[in-house]
Symmetry: D2
Subunit: 148 residues, 4 copies
């Protein structure tokens, strides 16, 4: 039987991700699900609901940002070293409508010392870009899980 | 009896603000309250709750952004012309803890044609800056309320 | 003999690029050269000189920005429709020293109506990232060259 | 005779500013002059010349950025502790034409530990905003001048 080979770094990222999602009531409230996580990268998924929308049935920017920020935060924390967001620049490109399924993907652009830069792209079920974000993380102290 | 004199523009902004807050389930969910609104400016207030926080009892960045974005959006829509957020750049300066009372104030930096730039400052009950945001609005079509 | 096939859009971009570089005294002053241009993308090259540097022999941020902005501007104008920079966000990642050869590459991230978003990456001769920029272009009126 | 009272911090800033401008060939090349400097703030002045412009006789964005970045850099270095630019977000609001006199003013928005945030505003001789920039500084090591 073929086995999937997972690097130690990616296995650690997966454990950190499970730990983080369980402690994220804000992500849970909006139904933001962790789809995949590896060292420095993350993918999340969310379906736009009525209670996220304004009267035009378009998703509030705060909810889209919350998803992008979450996806970035999981990527930057995936090394099991605690990081926080220093700044986030988001561009809103296309409204997300109620019923749309939005996917967020974050990748690491640069990392050195205590700083990291990450790009997040939000796309809808048709592959249209909904928003893009560039974010700056700073390492603080502590870890998410115990490493044996 | 002394009467407060309110400009027509500020009176219109107040009516638009009341209309918008009633149609903002996301702001309502987080207990974000409209404190004041005038032409091009807005003030909002929020108390940090358990369900906004992570395990360190610090407010999730997505909730702080939602407040900043809301405060900016009310300021940019205050002329009763519909606008949307094109981009928002936020810097997180100090964590907001559970129980903190955060105030957001937005001011108009520049406005021409269909574009506007707004600065938002979030401070806690001690006057410490929690976050600052610079945001770019674009005018779309339509109005919020009927003007007689 | 094998011939290189060039799309009409890329051929137009090449003509626009030649026209623009000839009218760019600021790029010429800093020795910023156009290496390649195609529809929505551009590559430029620059060698860091003494007169670009401070006393630590590191390139001034204004010169690096000028290169990044130029590279973005050529990409966004490559369709022969005049565009201007609305905003540019740059991160400085590693100093460029006197003698370094810096390459800038811009790619189109998103384009719709009169707006476009472009990412520019500056790398040195070792492939290290020197700076990254995300820029927002707006189409104005007019063209760079006559199209038959 | 009335004497102007200058705080020790502002006197130090003035000495740092004089030292820095003498070692800034890029600012000198564009004729960017130091008008005033105090602890955390700076003002500079520049007249738009032919060699800064494109064929439309409008100032290249790279030159405006160089001025804004210089003004921010002098403000963030005014404490005689070396700082560098980590990131700069600039919005271009109105073209500067050949012959225009542009003034840049930077103020400190926030400072803690090794990080600082500064806002820079560029205005023309009519008081119109030409560009605004928000910049993030990081303290490195070393000083500009010897303090007795």
């Amino acid at each position: 039987m073929a086995e999937t080979i997972v690097s130690a770094a990616d296995a650690l990222a997966a454990r950190v991700g499970e730990n983080m999602i369980a402690k994220s009531p804000v992500l849970q409230h909006w139904g933001i699900e962790l789809v995949a996580i590896s060292a420095g990268a993350c993918e999340m998924c969310m379906t736009i609901r009525d209670d996220m929308s304004n009267l035009h049935r378009q998703c509030h920017g705060g909810v889209l940002f919350t998803m992008a920020d979450g996806c970035f935060g999981f990527a930057s924390n995936s090394y099991n070293e605690r990081t926080v967001a220093a700044s986030c620049d988001i561009n809103f490109l296309k409204p997300a409508e109620v019923g749309d399924v939005v996917t967020a993907r974050s990748v690491e652009v640069w990392k050195r010392g205590r700083s990291g830069l990450y790009d997040v792209t939000l796309t809808n079920q048709n592959g249209d870009k909904v928003a893009i974000m560039r974010a700056h993380s700073r390492k603080t102290t502590g870890n998410h899980i115990d490493q044996v």
